[in-house]
């Protein structure tokens, strides 16, 4: 047994692949390409995700500065607003006064149109209407008085309610006249028309 030699088998390769693939990952050109790609990505990211936002923010800030500058101009203009408003409140007419015809103006009108001719028995001024009762004039004179009243700017219209003759010899009458005041009735009509 000792003289019998064991057959030794060696590895054998019958074919050989001669294809050689060199490692290019460390080649400067490849590295440059990677770097370029990374730079492009970073640039795109920086442009769209950072720079644009910052620019937009700056534009908005500039817009705000402009608006604030405009506001400061108005603030300057309105520095005296409170003072003017206070003076206005003190001296201007109130809404009530603006809506009303001055009662003394009404009396002046009656004095000039009715009193020289007739004896006034009563005057009532309320809610934009004047009721005046007078006597001592003829019907013709009453018509003249009504005409005078209607010529006034403060009168909207005049209605003779009653005119009754008295026992006087010259056909004198006692008349009741209803006068609608222009300003107050204008407002009432305007209020009615509004929906």
């Amino acid at each position: 047994m000792a003289g019998r030699k064991k057959k030794i088998s060696y590895p054998e390769k019958k074919s050989m692949n001669l294809y050689y693939k060199p490692d290019r990952t460390t080649v400067p050109a490849t590295i440059s390409l990677y770097v370029l790609f990374a730079l492009t990505l970073m640039l795109a990211f920086g442009k769209f995700m950072v720079y644009d936002y910052i620019v937009k923010l700056q534009e908005t800030q500039e817009q705000l500065d402009q608006v604030l500058a405009e506001k400061s101009i108005y603030d300057k203009k309105l520095e005296r607003y409170d003072e003017v408003q206070q003076r206005y409140r003190l001296y201007s007419k109130t809404d009530d006064e603006l809506k009303q015809t001055d009662r003394m103006e009404v009396l002046e009108l009656l004095d000039s149109a009715v009193r020289p001719e007739a004896d006034i028995e009563s005057i009532s001024v309320s809610d934009g209407f004047v009721t005046v009762k007078f006597s001592g004039v003829t019907l013709k004179k009453t018509a003249e008085i009504v005409k005078k009243l209607e010529e006034s700017e403060i009168v909207a219209r005049t209605t003779v309610d009653t005119a009754s003759t008295t026992e006087s010899p010259d056909n004198q009458v006692t008349a009741n006249i209803l006068i609608a005041l222009q300003k107050e009735n204008e407002q009432n009509e305007a209020t009615t028309v509004e929906p």
Partner: protein, 204 residues
Amino acid sequence: MKRRLSSREVALLIVLLVLVAASAYYLWFYVPVQERQTALEGQILDTQNAIEIDKVRVVKMEQMEEELRQIFADDPNPVSMAAYDNSQRVMFELHAILAETDDYSLNFSSVDTDGEDGIVRRNISMNFETGNYEAAKDVLQKLHDSDYRCMMDDLSINVEEHTETYNLFSLGYLFSDHTERRTPTVKTVTSIKVSASIVFFEYL
């Protein structure tokens, strides 16, 4: 000992780095920038709204100034509105004016302090009597031109005539034997009765 990272490890490391970078970008850049942007836009909108209000106020102020110029041009010393509460001075004023009448009564009704315009309205009803129309009108004119801003309404003027009988005796009658007696004298007396409501304006 240096060991080369496997490709899976490298891939995971890259994913991790990307996640960290994205998170950092989102938290430390994107969110603050967006918040600032929103705040600025909100500030712009508020300021623009304030400017619109200011524009209206400027127009209103110019109108008020114009009206004031007109008021002072018409009357260099216009009556200003008194401050609330002016009731005592009003009472003194009314008394001073109405003292000239034959008889008067005043009824101080409600004081309206609820006006949206910040103006208090002191409502007073009054009745007075004078001997003639001119005196009545004079009283009304004085109220109208009073130092305190007021407005008359519900004005009613009635002329009333009534007769009064006087028994006049001559001086001689006192010393006579009382047989001579004068006949009573009947006199027609005219009185003007005025009633009106008057509102005094005061500012709060």
